[in-house]
């Protein structure tokens, strides 16, 4: 009995006191401790039941049962630990995700704002351009009109030129070369007539009906 207790105390103390126990995996420790407790409880039971020998058997049995209980506990702890690990991982993932998401969304917002700015600028450009376009179209139309008018004028002038050229050609054909002689003759005849009129003393015998209108 004392021996068992001593052993147990030593084990417990050692485990408790020595951080080195921590290095042994907690699972192993749990199971070991469980076994220890079981052994003690078993021993107690054995002692209670069977004296000194019983305690040893009881302890052995107890250790086995304790080990089983320890195992159970270890399993449960394991489960919890796994769950915690899982949750922690999830939490970390989600945190990470959210962090990324926030940054991404911020960027998206920026992008949207930027795009809207672009859109506004483009619209302004378009509006201005429309004005320019209108001005150009008007200029183009006025030029076209000038060209059409010019064409009409040109046609008129060309026709007029044709007519005048034809007339001039005709003129050249039918007009005689300078004949100053005829000029002199006409002047002489007119002068003689005038003189004769004074001599005739203005007495005329006119046998005529209405004169023609010269056109």
């Amino acid at each position: 009995m004392k021996k068992i207790v001593n052993v147990l105390v030593v084990v417990l103390l050692v485990c408790a006191l020595l951080p080195g126990c921590a290095t042994m995996s907690d699972q192993t420790r749990t199971k070991a401790e469980g076994a220890g407790v079981g052994a003690v409880l078993g021993g107690l039971l054995g002692y209670a039941v069977g004296g000194g020998e019983g305690a040893a058997i009881g302890a052995a049995v107890g250790a086995g049962a304790g080990f089983l209980v320890g195992n159970e506990i270890a399993k449960r702890k394991q489960a919890y630990a796994s769950t915690e690990d899982f949750l922690d991982a999830e939490i970390a993932n989600t945190q990470e995700y959210n962090k990324t998401a926030i940054a991404y969304n911020a960027q998206l917002s920026k992008d949207v704002a930027q795009l809207e700015k672009e859109s506004t600028a483009l619209r302004a450009k378009y509006d201005k351009g429309q004005v320019d376009k209108k001005a150009l179209a008007a200029k183009s139309d006025s030029l076209q009109k000038k060209i059409d008018d010019s064409k009409k004028l040109e046609d008129t002038l060309a026709k007029e030129l044709e007519v005048q050229t034809a007339i001039l050609e005709d003129e050249k054909k039918t007009r005689p070369a300078d004949d100053q002689y005829i000029v002199r003759l006409e002047k002489e005849v007119a002068a003689l007539q005038k003189n004769l009129d004074t001599l005739r003393d203005g007495s005329t015998q006119l046998a005529k009906i209405d004169q023609r209108l010269s056109v």
């Binding site: 009129d197 006119l206 056109v215």
Partner: protein, 365 residues
């Protein structure tokens, strides 16, 4: 009393005003009374007044007229020169007609002589009087005018004519020279006979035909002219000394006119005549006809063988009045009845020279 005096003064003023500005009616009456070939009716003379003077004058003498000092032109010389299409405008019953003169813009544009005018620059001439049409035809030298005419042979045609300075020939030679057609439009004192001689000489020199080939003288557009010139022209075709006619006036005035000496032309003659052949032209034609020197082709002439003279009045105006009657050698006159042609033609043919020429030529075959 004062009112009467005022009235009297006013009346005197009015009367003297009348005397100063009115045509000298008494002088006119006096001239007419003394010089008309036949004495006028006194009542008609008395009826002469400022009010419609021209009309009342014409009642007495159909060819009498008073010209104001400003509008009177001495009837001397040829038709002068002007800027235009080179034509004469005549108003006929059917409408305005253009007599196209040789060598003018109208002739050069191809406008046929005696075309009936329909439109000027696209606007009709219907209902317009002579002065309006003439002013529409006139324009600046170098300008053109579009005319639409009815052609003598039928059909209508447009012509573009250029206006230019123009003076007509005193005697026209109608081409081709070979058909020997000359045209007289006016008997211009001292000018028409020498022009005729020049033209006939020109014909002789430039055409193959000889001097004895028949000559056609177109008198369809000859309203008359200087009486003595008509006699002189007739004398060109009749031997010297031939009695051409007698000029008769008031108080037994009778002047015999004989053919003068000088060069003569003896070729066969045909005259183209019509209702616008008048006065001196009729006298010329009648003289030659009475001597069997010509044949007349066309239509009956106008019927005026009287002659007028001009007298200047005290206020500067001029009275033209009939003072002479012309008698042919046989003693008859054309006044009132005109000369009837040897070969009569219809109205359409009268305007077609080529047809008339053919008819004239047929007379000598």
């Amino acid at each position: 009393m004062r009112t009467a005096r005022v009235l009297a003064v006013l009346l005197v003023a009015l009367a003297s005003a009348q005397c100063l500005h009115a045509a000298p009616l008494e002088a006119i009456r006096d001239i007419l009374r003394r010089h008309l070939p036949h004495p006028p009716d006194e009542a008609a003379l008395a009826a002469l007044s400022e009010d419609d003077l021209q009309g009342r004058l014409r009642d007495i003498d159909p060819y009498a007229r008073v010209f104001s000092g400003g509008e009177y032109r001495v009837p001397l010389g040829s038709s002068g020169s002007w800027i235009g299409i080179g034509a004469g405008l005549a108003m006929r019953a059917g409408g305005p007609v253009l007599h196209v003169y040789r060598g003018g813009g109208a002739e050069r544009a191809g406008l046929p002589d005696r075309s009936r005018l329909l439109e000027i620059d696209g606007v009709s001439v219907r209902e317009q009087d002579a002065e309006t049409i003439a002013s529409r035809l006139r324009g600046e030298a170098g300008s053109t005018v579009r005319l639409r005419v009815a052609l003598p042979g039928g059909g209508e045609k447009p012509f573009t004519v250029r206006r230019e300075a123009f003076s007509p020939l005193d005697v026209e030679l109608v081409p081709p020279g070979s058909q020997r057609v000359v045209r007289i439009r006016d008997f211009a004192g001292g000018l028409t006979r020498p022009a005729m001689r020049a033209t006939l000489d020109f014909l002789d020199r430039t055409t193959a035909a000889d001097r004895s080939a028949p000559l056609i003288i177109d008198l369809r557009d000859a309203p008359g002219g200087d009486l003595y010139e008509a006699f002189d022209l007739a004398g060109l075709f009749l031997p010297a000394g031939t009695l051409l006619g007698t000029i008769r006036g008031r108080d037994g005035y009778a002047l015999e006119i004989r053919s003068p000496g000088g060069d003569k032309y003896s070729m066969p003659l045909t005259l183209l005549v019509g209702p616008e052949t008048a006065s001196s032209a009729e006298i010329f034609a009648g003289i030659l006809r009475q001597h069997d020197r010509v044949r007349l082709v066309g239509q009956t002439t106008y019927g005026k063988c009287s002659s007028q003279t001009d007298a200047r009045l005290s206020d500067g105006s001029v009275l033209r009045y009939t003072n002479r009657e012309v008698l042919f050698p046989r003693g008859d006159t054309c006044t009132g009845q005109g000369l009837t042609p040897d070969l009569a033609v219809g109205d359409d043919e009268l305007d077609m020279l080529s047809r008339l020429v053919k008819r004239a030529q047929s007379l000598y075959e």
